[in-house]
C-alpha cells in the first residue's frame, strides 16, 4: 500500500488492502489483447459492444490498442438488487444504436463472474443475427460461474475475492483506480452506503 498511498486521496484508497494487478500489468495485457484482436478481425470492421458502466475504462483502453478499423456501441441492463428483485426479469435500460445483422460483434466485458448477465446479453444479441459473436473479458472469475460461456479472449484470471479498480466498483466507488486491488473484509462487509 505504501507504493501507491501517496498518489491518491486517502478517502479513495481507504479500505484497499493489496494490489492484485498493477496498472503496468494491465497496460501490457491490454496491449497484447489488442494485437490479437487486430490480427483476428483484420478486414472485418468489428463492432465492439460493452455493457455499462464497469466496462468503460477497459473499452477505452482496448479500443486504442486495436490497430484495425472498429466501431463501438454500448448497452445497459438492470441488475438484480433489493430494488429490482420484485420487478420480474432483467431488462434493457439502454439498447444498442447499431444494427447487428451481418456484423462481426466482439462483446467486451470488464469481468465475467457468475455469467448470468453475460448469458442474458449474448442470448439477446444472437437474436439479431450477427455474422459472429465472441467475448473478450479483461478479468475472469470462474469460481462462481453458473453459466458456462465461451470466452475467446481473457486478460487475467482473478481469485475468488472481492476486487475493485479499473472499472470494478464497490457501491460505485473505486472504479477510477488504475489498478485492481483487494478490499479489506471490513469494507466489503460494512454494508455502508458510499457518498
Amino acid at each position: 500500500m505504501a507504493s501507491f498511498s501517496n498518489l491518491f486521496s486517502p478517502d479513495l484508497i481507504e479500505g484497499i488492502s493489496d494490489v492484485l494487478v498493477s496498472a503496468e500489468q494491465i497496460e501490457q495485457r491490454v496491449s497484447e489483447l489488442g494485437r490479437a484482436i487486430s490480427v483476428d478481425y483484420a478486414g472485418k470492421n468489428p463492432l465492439l459492444v460493452g455493457v455499462l458502466k464497469g466496462v468503460l475504462i477497459f473499452m477505452a483502453d482496448i479500443l486504442r490498442a486495436i490497430t484495425v478499423p472498429v466501431e463501438v456501441d454500448f448497452i445497459a441492463v438492470s441488475t438484480y438488487s433489493p430494488e429490482t428483485r420484485d420487478k420480474g426479469l432483467v431488462r434493457l435500460l439502454k439498447d444498442l444504436e447499431t444494427p447487428l445483422n451481418g456484423r462481426h460483434v466482439l462483446f467486451i466485458e470488464d469481468v465475467v463472474d457468475t455469467g448470468l448477465t453475460l448469458n442474458y446479453l449474448l442470448s439477446n444479441l444472437r437474436t439479431r443475427s450477427p455474422a459472429s459473436l465472441e467475448v473478450c473479458t479483461l478479468f475472469n472469475k470462474s469460481r462462481h460461474r453458473l453459466v458456462d460461456l465461451p470466452i475467446k479472449y481473457t486478460g487475467f484470471d482473478l481469485p475468488d475475492r472481492f476486487v475493485v479498480g479499473y472499472g470494478l466498483d464497490h457501491r460505485e466507488r473505486y472504479r477510477n483506480l488504475p489498478f485492481v486491488a483487494l478490499l479489506t473484509p471490513q469494507v466489503v462487509h460494512s454494508g455502508r452506503k458510499e457518498t
Binding site: 438484480y80 428483485r85 432483467v90 448469458n119 442474458y120 462462481h144 472481492f162 466489503v188 462487509h189 454494508g191
Partner: protein
C-alpha cells in the same frame, strides 16, 4: 422433489434455508431455469444393498447441466458435506456439481447489494 421455476415470479417453495430462496430469485431474474432438489443420489449401502447414506444437491440447472449445493455452514463444519460431494463425484464422475460455500454466498449477496442477506450469513443464525 422436482419443481421448476415459473419465471418471472419465484413460486413459494418449502426451502430449507432462506438463502436458497434468494438464490432462486437471482436465477429467475436472469431467466435461468432451475429445479429444487430434483434427485437423490445414494452414496453408501449396507451388505444387504440398503441405502445408508444419500445426497440431494439443492439445485439442478438443466440448461447448464449443473448441480448446485449451497451451504452457509462455517468452514470447520463443512467436512461432512465436502465428503458427500467427493463421494458423489467418485460414483458419478459425469456429474457437474458446484459448491457455493459460506464465503461464496456472502460475496454473491454483496455483489447484488443484498446487505441484509449477507449479514444473515455472517451472523450466527441457524446454519444449513
Amino acid at each position: 422433489m422436482a419443481t421448476h421455476s415459473k419465471n418471472p415470479k419465484t413460486p413459494d417453495h418449502p426451502f430449507a434455508h432462506h438463502i436458497e430462496e434468494e438464490f432462486t430469485r437471482i436465477l429467475d431474474y436472469y431467466g435461468i431455469v432451475w429445479e429444487y432438489e430434483p434427485q437423490t443420489f445414494p452414496l453408501e449401502w449396507d451388505d444387504l444393498g440398503n441405502v445408508q447414506e444419500a445426497f440431494s444437491p439443492d439445485f439442478y440447472l438443466p440448461q447448464q447441466n449443473l448441480y448446485i449445493e449451497l451451504t452457509t455452514l462455517k468452514p470447520n463444519l463443512t467436512t461432512k458435506k465436502n465428503r458427500k460431494i467427493r463421494r458423489l463425484i467418485e460414483l458419478h464422475p459425469e456429474i457437474n456439481i458446484k459448491l457455493f460455500k459460506r464465503a461464496d454466498l456472502r460475496q454473491l449477496m454483496i455483489k447484488y447489494g443484498l446487505d441484509k442477506e449477507a449479514e444473515k450469513i455472517t451472523g450466527n443464525q441457524a446454519q444449513k
